[in-house]
């Protein structure tokens, strides 16, 4: 039971960061290689606050999230106005830079790692924060701001023409995703009780993005599904550990080439979402029947 609870907590912790990436990549169309860096900032800030300064955990989580958010403003200012891959490459450089800096900070254990952190993350804290984050992202996506984000993803130029401040909305998406990554890092630090800079390398960043892609770009319920699947599957198939990433990499290519929307892709697993899909199916069937009838009429 404890084992299952452990996996559930890991799912919950990852979900917070993945929800942020769902907004950034899934809804706004920006691709980041560096969210492991934001997670690392949240994790180390929270670890310093709880282990060194003996501050309450709530303050530590808040500080972890906010400091990641602050740094994202700086990265965003530099790169979001530029066209093309600059954002990608800069986030990649940022993530690696955070890791190299942490490797050299002896106050936080350096490259060897930092053990014996207080264990403050309990399942109900994770559950509570998950619900808060889900409600927040859901409301954000279904608000006017959320529609602007989607407009930016779909057609930047047209969105700009229609009066959407593209830079501002890209920035909002980046800040939200960085804050969520920071919060997730803070929970991670005080759950695993151990931190090491390599935990937040580029592989971690891409892992988070892969969860968004599996679930489906532009679907929150898909993101939740993708996170649950991809965090728990490796636990089930321990023996295939070394093939895990081979399969993930291949699956990402296949998804992008074959079904770019992922498992859920643009659909939501809510009563309204299901009704919408069913209605679309019925409409299609009806259209096909009409076409068939018309063809038969022609033949006759």
């Amino acid at each position: 039971m404890e084992y299952i609870q452990g996996i559930a907590i890991l799912i919950g912790i990852n979900l917070i960061a993945v929800l942020g990436l769902c907004i950034l990549t899934g809804f706004t169309g920006l691709f980041s290689f560096g969210h492991g860096g934001f997670m690392a900032i949240g994790a180390y800030i929270s670890a310093i606050m709880t282990a060194r300064l003996n501050l309450p955990f709530s303050v530590a989580i808040l500080a972890g999230g906010l400091s990641a958010g602050l740094i994202s403003v700086f990265i965003g200012q530099l790169t979001l106005k530029l066209k093309g891959d600059y954002f990608c490459i800069a986030t990649m450089g940022f993530g690696e830079a955070v890791r190299v800096i942490l490797n050299n900070v002896e106050y936080c254990g350096g490259a060897r790692g930092w053990a014996d952190l207080p264990k403050l993350t309990s399942w109900w804290v994770v559950l509570l924060l998950d619900i808060v984050c889900l409600v927040l992202t859901w409301n954000l996506i279904n608000s006017r701001q959320g529609r602007n984000l989607i407009a930016v993803r779909e057609e930047e130029l047209a969105a700009q023409m229609a009066g959407v401040n593209v830079f501002r909305f890209k920035m909002i998406a980046l800040i939200v995703s960085a804050v969520l990554a920071g919060v997730s890092g803070a929970l991670m630090a005080n759950y695993l009780q151990f931190l090491r800079p390599t935990m937040f390398n580029m592989a971690k960043s891409t892992d988070l993005t892969i969860m968004v892609i599996f679930g489906g770009l532009g679907s929150i319920s898909g993101t939740v599904l993708g996170t649950i699947l991809l965090v728990s599957l490796p636990e089930v198939f321990r023996n295939f550990a070394q093939w895990r990433l081979v399969i993930y990499g291949l699956a990402v290519i296949v998804i992008m080439v074959g079904r770019p929307k992922g498992i859920m892709g643009g659909m939501e697993l809510t009563p309204a979402g299901i009704r919408k899909v069913l209605a679309a199916r019925r409409a299609k069937a009806k259209l096909e029947a009409e076409v068939k009838a018309a063809e038969q009429g022609d033949a006759a």
Partner: protein
């Protein structure tokens, strides 16, 4: 002064390998306008091709070098055909290309780890030609490794051939035209599909050459693909999509890196590389030689 010259030589030799990587990456960027993040994996595979043809097949070094370049070129073209072509045909958004490239890179790197294993492999020196055996050359207080000389000379020859090809042949002009405007070039009778395959083949071939040289200087290991991060930085530094920019950026980046590790500390070398990237984005995002990339829209 001696140390200065020594660092200069080190920087030039490693910079020439960065240049081989960055040029291939930049060529693809100039045509397709997306960062081929799987470029590093192609470099790594090239190094393995060279290593195994030398140790398992026992072919002479020159053939192994050729196999590395050719094998990497084939992989790069396969990647284009199997992963990027379907996306191009569908006019998929830019985001999908980056995600696919990331997937390809994860797939290739981890396939190598799962099959060959993560342990680094060293080129056996007795299988290398006579030139590589023996002590490094010494000029006064200056020592120059034999691999370093080979790196510089081979990279210089490859890059000179590339510049000649791009600037003075009809096909090279076609590549330039396609980079300038792919639609207009297609209307003038240039087959964009053929140009894209050609560019991936050239980039892959240079990547293979870079891979085997880098593997000889250090070792061959799956995480090697991460050093392409340096070629991305070099390409941004020099100006994304510009060949001369990629060249200049690579040399400058390598020089700065070797001077940092020579005079300060190796630990901060990578940090400076990223610092340069950030500084460049603040001061002049289009790089030293790059076109204006501020979004006009």
């Amino acid at each position: 002064m001696d140390q200065f010259l020594q660092q200069l030589v080190n920087g030039l030799s490693i910079g020439s390998v960065y240049a081989l990587m960055a040029v291939g990456y930049s060529l693809v960027y100039s045509i397709m306008n997306f960062s081929n993040f799987a470029h590093g994996s192609v470099i790594m595979l090239g190094a393995y091709f060279g290593f195994f043809s030398l140790t398992l097949l026992g072919v002479p070094f020159s053939v192994a070098f050729f196999v590395a370049a050719l094998g990497a070129a084939v992989i790069a073209v396969l990647l284009e055909r199997l992963a990027y072509k379907p996306l191009r045909d569908r006019r998929a958004p830019f985001l999908y290309f980056i995600i696919t490239a990331m997937g390809a890179s994860i797939f290739i790197d981890n396939s190598v780890i799962a099959t060959i294993g993560p342990t680094p492999k060293t080129f056996p020196s007795d299988l290398l030609p006579g030139f590589f055996q023996g002590d490094p050359f010494e000029f006064g207080a200056l020592t120059i490794g034999r691999v370093d000389i080979a790196m510089f000379v081979v990279a210089a020859i490859c890059l000179a051939l590339l510049v000649f090809f791009i600037d003075f042949t009809k096909l090279g002009k076609a590549i330039q035209a396609t980079a300038y405007n792919i639609k207009a070039a297609a209307l003038m009778g240039i087959n964009p599909n053929f140009i894209i395959i050609l560019v991936f083949a050239i980039g892959g071939g240079l990547a293979g050459a870079a891979g085997i040289l880098y593997g000889m200087k250090y070792q061959v290991f799956p995480q090697m693909s991460a050093i392409t991060l340096k070629s991305f930085i070099a390409a941004v530094f020099g100006g994304l999509g510009s060949l001369s920019g990629a060249l200049l950026g690579s040399l400058l980046l390598a020089l700065i890196e070797t001077f940092i590790s020579g005079y300060l500390s190796t630990q901060y070398r990578d940090l400076f590389a990223f610092g340069i990237l950030i500084a460049m984005l603040v001061v002049r995002p289009s790089g030293i030689m790059g076109k204006n990339i501020e979004d006009k829209a």
